[in-house]
Symmetry: C2
Subunit: 634 residues, 2 copies
């Protein structure tokens, strides 16, 4: 094999290598003729000229009569003229002007006298006539080369007699998935089987970029088969994407196989996620080895393949750009070795566009769904500080961010239900929630990076939330809103095979699944331990932290844990047994400055709604007394 380790080519250099090779190989893309009626969104391959004039005849622009203007000269209010039936013609809008006539008089200005008409003003030549070529003259260029055809342009082309139009041929792009462990999407994959969804993502992205994806069957990790697929693809398509195996590990055959069919320009770029990228040319056909992790794959395609797709489609090669900037909510550490692309949730808090970094794992596709934008940490930076302005690539309409409610705090599925109800009331509504635990939420409010957060923090005195609020905020900084009463309990396997009875069982050596420090459930755990005289650190599994109730439930359901503290709805979702321990107050802390925002008002009114109470009942494990009331805390 030509490469035994990865390059670390700077992103811009790698892009340039690839696009320049493509431009040299394909200076002018192929063209084809299509029906103008089917050409919406296509790109012209050359200048398009009108074949006929529009209108193609002199047409009446009004309902009325057509006349020779010279016959009407001298007509006036006091000197009307009578036109005999031989010297005028009745015309409707759009009718051709009879030969010899050169003006139209509106029907409203004509008085009928038997078959004749009386007129009270002279017509000027060519009045109320749409002359030949008013819109387009035969020979006029309607559209230049490499221009997108819009619905209006389709109309102009048809008006100009152009019923077939030469457009850039849509490039076909082969997508070859590889990997022994891959299976087609299904509801019940077996252990070790990975659902192959990357080709679905790739296909949709390619279609959005104007290409025609051609998806190959999943190829096993066998170099001969992969090479054969590549050869076939390069011979029949305009570009090739080889999915997964692009790194330099044991089963990563991509670079070797690509080397068999073409010239490798680069293997490995200084970008994270997305490092193990292969860029190559098989003759005139660009070939890209795409990383297997979905987030790496999406970002690498946007960065390196989108410019190629644009070029092959007849557009300029410009790809995704960092046109905006945002204020970073939390510090991000990065490596000097890479340009790092960080998914972020955007918010407008107190007039500032803020970006809260999301999970960074390259396998976490849901992080790309939650992301409103991508921020960039340049290759020569070791990271960025909270409060710094960072380059931003918006993934959504920025105007929608202004209306979104930023909810940062403790995790509870009821927030997703509120977000769903909000969408059903106002389809533009957006509630962007991040799960950082109760304390994390209060810190975000303190930094003015969120509008509100759910909290359930038990004080030393056994009272919920008030103490925590007091220790963080001045009297007028936040408003505390009554949320739900929430039953916390121990989740354990269905049928309770270990015979868990109450909280004291956590000290019996079973495998406990803990929550992260700062979360309300962790605070409750520590409080309960103290009450039961248990040392938290002595609990088996104390070190193993999960971020949400459902994550704890999932561990127990999978058999890698025996019990964990959490809420009833999570246990119910996973069919676990639930041993109630106590009822806690899960309330909402709202930044005073956000209190009057329409999105906050909507949130509070949903809290108080019957629809929401129904959803709480369906989830189970909640009480809703005085929900939505403002609590006094000073």
């Amino acid at each position: 094999m030509a490469f035994s380790y990865l390059d670390n080519l700077p992103v811009e250099r790698a892009k340039e290598l690839f696009i320049n090779a493509v431009k040299e190989a394909v200076p002018i893309p192929d063209e084809e003729y299509v029906n103008t009626a089917d050409a919406d969104g296509r790109i012209t391959s050359k200048g398009v000229y009108a074949k006929i004039c529009a209108p193609h005849y002199h047409a009446s622009a009004m309902d009325g009569i057509s006349v020779k203007a010279s016959d009407t000269f001298g007509a006036g209010e006091t000197t009307p003229i009578v036109l005999r039936k031989e010297s005028f013609h009745w015309v409707d809008t759009g009718d051709p002007i009879p030969k010899g006539d050169d003006a139209v008089i509106m029907i409203e200005e004509v008085v009928r006298e038997g078959e004749n008409v009386r007129i009270f003003s002279a017509a000027s030549p060519w009045q109320h006539i749409r002359q030949i070529g008013e819109d387009l003259c035969a020979g006029d260029m309607i559209l230049p080369s490499f221009t997108e055809i819009t619905p209006e342009a389709q109309g102009a082309l048809l008006a100009g007699g152009v019923i077939n139009v030469s457009v850039v041929k849509r490039p076909t792009v082969a997508v070859i998935p590889t990997g022994d462990e891959l299976v087609a999407p299904c509801e019940e994959p077996k252990s070790g089987e990975i659902i192959e969804f990357n080709t679905t993502i790739f296909s949709s992205m390619l279609k959005r970029w104007g290409c025609i994806p051609k998806v190959w069957d999943i190829q096993p990790d066998e170099p001969e088969k992969i090479t054969a697929a590549l050869k076939e693809a390069a011979a029949t398509c305009d570009a090739v994407l080889l999915s997964a195996g692009s790194s330099a590990g044991r089963d990563d055959y991509s670079v070797g196989c690509i080397g068999q069919v073409g010239k490798v320009l680069c293997h490995g770029v200084a970008m994270k996620p997305g490092k193990p990228v292969i860029l190559a040319m098989a003759g005139k056909v660009p070939v890209m080895g795409v990383p297997g992790y979905p987030v790496s794959a999406v970002l690498a395609l946007q960065e390196f393949f989108c410019p190629v797709a644009n070029w092959l489609c007849g557009r300029n090669e410009n790809g995704y750009e960092f046109k905006d900037s945002a204020t970073l909510c939390r510090s991000v550490v990065s490596s000097l070795k890479y340009r790092e692309l960080v998914r972020a949730r955007l918010g407008f808090v107190e007039g500032k566009l803020t970006a809260a970094p999301l999970q960074r794992g390259a396998g976490v596709i849901s992080s790309l769904v939650k992301a409103d934008g991508i921020i960039e940490i340049e290759q020569d930076r070791e990271g960025c500080e909270a409060g710094e302005k960072v380059p931003l690539r918006c993934l959504c309409d920025k105007s929608k961010i202004i209306n979104s409610l930023i909810v940062t705090g403790s995790h509870d599925p009821l927030i997703d239900e509120i977000a769903d109800i909000a969408k059903r009331i106002d389809r533009d509504a957006k509630i962007a929630s991040s799960h950082v635990g109760s304390t994390g939420g209060l810190l975000a409010l303190k930094r003015h990076e969120a509008h509100m957060g759910g909290i359930h923090l038990l004080g030393e005195d056994g009272i919920y939330n008030i103490n925590a609020i007091k220790s963080f905020f001045e009297k007028d900084e936040v408003i505390l809103v009554k949320g739900v009463g929430r039953i916390q309990g121990l989740m354990t396997a269905a049928g309770n095979p270990l015979g868990i009875k109450d909280f004291s069982d956590v000290s019996k050596g079973f495998r406990y699944v803990n929550r992260q420090g700062g979360s309300g459930t962790r605070v409750l755990f520590d409080y309960l331990c103290r009450e039961h005289g248990i040392s938290p650190q002595s609990v088996n599994g104390w070190n193993r932290e999960e971020m949400t109730h459902t994550a704890v439930a999932a561990q127990i359901a999978s058999g890698t844990g025996d019990l964990g503290l959490g809420i009833f709805s999570a246990a119910k979702l996973y069919g676990l047994d639930f041993v109630p321990v106590c009822t806690e107050n899960y309330d909402f802390a709202v930044l005073r400055s956000a209190w009057e925002l329409p999105q906050t008002k909507m949130f509070i009114s949903i809290l108080r709604s019957e629809e929401f109470k129904k959803r709480l009942e369906a989830l189970g494990g909640y009480t809703a007394e005085n929900i939505g009331e403002v609590l006094q805390w000073s």
Copy 2:
């Protein structure tokens, strides 16, 4: 009929009436299940929850060995531990973690010793393991209601085991064209036949908005047939568009027919173009009578139907908005009776976004193709002054405007050819040309509303362009660039049946087709008349003004004129005879402040190119000596 004249309902009121009726009739749109793989761009009809965890098993995040972390405790640089083959397992990235193991050690940190391995540091529990639910937990809401599904979301849905997803059903929209004079698109329509291109425009717009258009056959102007088509459409579709006949003229049956199948909410709105609009409900089905003129139709659909389409598709009802503003180049007169929508060409000249109004005829579809934006003159305004800031709806990416070269001046097809060459060099290049005649071009430069303009103005002394430039500009304001030598001559019917010999023939009573005042060709005409001792006003047709060479040629070709002054390429296009009269200098005046712009430099370099010379030869009638040279004029 219920209405014998048009209402003049304010636009906002009419919109509100219509959308509120639709929202009441269809509070929640229909839903359907589609394959997740086909769901890109669709809108969820309800919240979508993960069915399985992703990953759905504990997976190795690295190539290496899986171990029980507790077996490794105590290992260090100086105290390595040997693991026997029974106590670890070889794993690749993505492999399931064998039961009992709870950590992965990277292959790089492992030293093989026969079948055993030696390790030099302890593993912490769950290191390098992608735990169950790291991405998504079963039961997590992946997307709330009424949210667009993106390629990334498709991936997350499949990862969460959602292989079918409930989405809003695409509404089907009936499009019924009416009119005896309409014919299907073709290259050779007969006189009086109008090419029916509106349904093509409507269909493409509807598809872009997420609807499925269903196009009916063209209906003749017979109320019974139109009513029958409406009934069938309202019974089988989710919305109905009835095209043309929506006014109150003789053959305008739409409102009567719509009244037969539903309730008319409004007939006639205070908007121009687009006044004769009918808004109605046939039970739960919105019905719109759309004006027949294409520009009126497009603007009325954007204004009134786009919000309805959005609502039926599961989006919010927001339609086209005036979000930007621009500085008006020329004053626009408007009526207090209407909100006027004016198509405009946008430009960035000296840092200011300017809007130059285009042709206002409601039939001129090409004006919508040339337009970069729509400006709005409010209903209570009698017009707007040049220099005023006006509300703007951008029709293109504003960033592209910055790069466009604004060429305003005399018409010549060579400018379109340069625009085409520019696109083939840089696909983002845009040359926006307006034909306002030579003098109009100089005035636009003087007002700093254009970067350059083509001029051919003959001075009293028989010298071209220099005098005109001197009379408008100070020495450093503009640069004059040598353009082409252009043969002007008399165009006349093929075979020259009238026996035109030279310019003096214009005084012989033939029907002359003149050019507008201020155009270089008009100045030349006046100069030649003076030379030949002819009084211009005495020429038959002196009053009849056309705006371009091709428009003059089109009139002569159609037989409504006998001769006209113009350039060879226009005569050639229409197969006319051409009697050469003189060669004139068609040069370019360039604003000094625009001289260094990249788009200006590209224009000049194209002028000097071989490719351009080839195109001039193909057009015919030009000389290209010293083309692109800067001319000294002070």
